[in-house]
Symmetry: C2
Subunit: 337 residues, 2 copies
């Protein structure tokens, strides 16, 4: 069975393809009667328009790209959910690209976007990303950064209150009696990592606590390597409190404590930036900084679609900070909020 095209509809109805196209697109140039005839035949023959023909001509694909470091992370999974909810509603398609925390791969992905394959991009950069290639992308088409943004690039950004969250986390640990607090960071480059580090340091300062020489541990993207790194760091620094700034690192802390036979929270209080739905069922339940992942995805997508709809929307100036929340559980001792 041949694919049904606009031309076939035209022939059957003794009309031009232009008329069919306009009828299907509800053009006012077409009489109601003709429109109905076209719609009827289209339905009867199960006509489905070829998106590529349309994209080629219109130079618009009704497709957006989502570039993230990984999917197996509650934050990104939930963010995709938020993005997809908006995209589905707007009739857009979502291409997912995983950079696997590899800026090389990310570059390759960004390069592909110069092809016009997608109308817009939502991106959360890798831990290694520098601005290279991103300015180009932002110049070329609508882009919204979310969570892991690139500070140097002037573009729309949806973030959470990273510095404040880290400040709050640190204060929470201090309130629980911690004096030797460590921070596990995913990256030296990432602005959200740096902001979290700043909030951390500011909190120590405000509470007259010294910054340990090895207060901040920069981790890898590989769990086996991190395991060794953390084990050593824990033993050398004798932390009494730790802030894990990513979900994976939160779990790693539990793993290392198990191995070292450090009790949580008696020996080490732990707070993790995590969206794990099971945080409350962990042993002990994990005090978290929970990010509004779904909302951030939704906000990012909403912003993007606004830009896609009206091209005079000043997308690059948009900034939105959605607050995270600290949920105190049993891995920390402070009783405050």
């Amino acid at each position: 069975m041949e694919n049904v095209t606009i031309r076939m509809l035209a022939e059957r109805l003794q009309l031009s393809t232009a008329t069919i196209s306009k009828a299907l697109n509800n053009s006012h140039e077409i009489s109601e009667e003709t429109r109905q005839r076209v719609l009827a035949l289209a339905a009867e023959l199960n006509y489905v328009p070829n998106p590529y023909a349309s994209s080629l001509r219109k130079k618009a694909s009704n497709t957006i790209a989502v570039v993230i470091p990984e999917v197996a992370d509650s934050f990104f999974a939930e963010a995709i959910n938020g993005i997809e909810a908006v995209a589905q509603e707007k009739g857009y398609h979502v291409l997912i690209y995983l950079s696997h925390e590899n800026s090389q791969k990310e570059q390759t992905i960004l390069k592909d976007f110069q092809s016009g394959r997608v109308d817009g991009v939502l991106i959360s950069v890798t831990t290694e990303t520098t601005a290279t290639g991103l300015e180009q992308l932002v110049r070329d088409k609508p882009v919204v950064f979310f969570d892991r943004v690139c500070e140097e690039v002037k573009a729309a950004k949806i973030t959470t209150d990273d510095a404040t969250a880290a400040y709050r986390a640190t204060t929470h640990l201090i309130a629980g009696g911690c004096r030797r607090i460590g921070l596990l960071s995913a990256s030296r480059q990432l602005s959200i990592s740096n902001k979290r580090a700043e909030g951390f340091q500011q909190a120590l300062l405000d509470h007259q606590l010294p910054l340990l020489p090895n207060a901040i541990t920069y981790c890898y993207n590989e769990s086996a390597a991190n395991y060794q790194l953390l084990k050593t760091a824990f033993l050398e620094n004798d932390y009494d409190g730790i802030i894990a700034t990513t979900e994976k690192l939160s779990t790693a802390v539990y793993e290392v404590c198990e191995a070292l036979q450090w009790r949580i929270p008696e020996d080490l209080q732990v707070i993790g930036f995590s969206n794990l739905s099971t945080a409350r069922f962990l042993n002990p339940s994990l005090t978290t900084i929970t990010q509004p992942a779904f909302e951030m995805g939704k906000a990012a997508a909403t912003l993007l679609f606004r830009a896609l709809k009206s091209n005079n929307f000043p997308l690059q100036q948009q900034q939105e900070v959605i607050p995270s929340s600290l949920i105190a559980r049993n891995s920390t001792l402070a009783k405050d909020k």
Copy 2:
């Protein structure tokens, strides 16, 4: 700056567009010298081919679709990982569609595939799915079902050993002393749900245990509703062992036990079909049936690409069962494997 097209390259080099196209596609018809000149200019002008022009002409999009009920589930997240790994390697693009456990939405998604937007489809159906629309899809283009397959449709399928896994889970509970075992099922229609139920019943039979009248609880897709449902079911049936056949349901059990103040495993032993990386850190650590999610995704994608490469590959006859594994932890008492 205008977009660089093949035509522009042709004009600059005083060649025809056909030559350019062939040179870029490494056709043997083009001399090495010309090929190099074309490649050099293409690189210089940063030429990026328009995928839609190419897709339109070649009737191939180098894009596959992944249709899943949700992303916020370790199994699906990991499966995407596996799929993406293969797709990236093969130079394909991945469109993600979420059916949100809604067969209506799924239908809409499937309908879109008739447009030729994607060259192949990887799908894990909703809990409500009937065969409608799926046969059509399978007839139209390469499709591989994974995990949640549709039994009635003759098509390539990647599954795990559902019946065996449930049998093993049940036996494990029995070995731990359970006599009143319940099974939480996600669906009455899903073949994987039914297979798990079968394995469960067979194990009871083989161990001379009666099947409780309310042994199987069919759950909703909504956690608040499930919470109530399970609470009631637990109280009414006084289970001493429970098998949660999905990740979400596993967590729900912990929630309900907390509310009912039932201790795990003393009052209720729990085993869950789950790929949560935090299973071992739960309180108590959760005995799981862990599915090879990444591998299943990879296997499904590999199968699909084999079919996309050679069109005489008998895709519809492919069946692969990848074994799951039972990982005994503290939510159950049996000490076996």
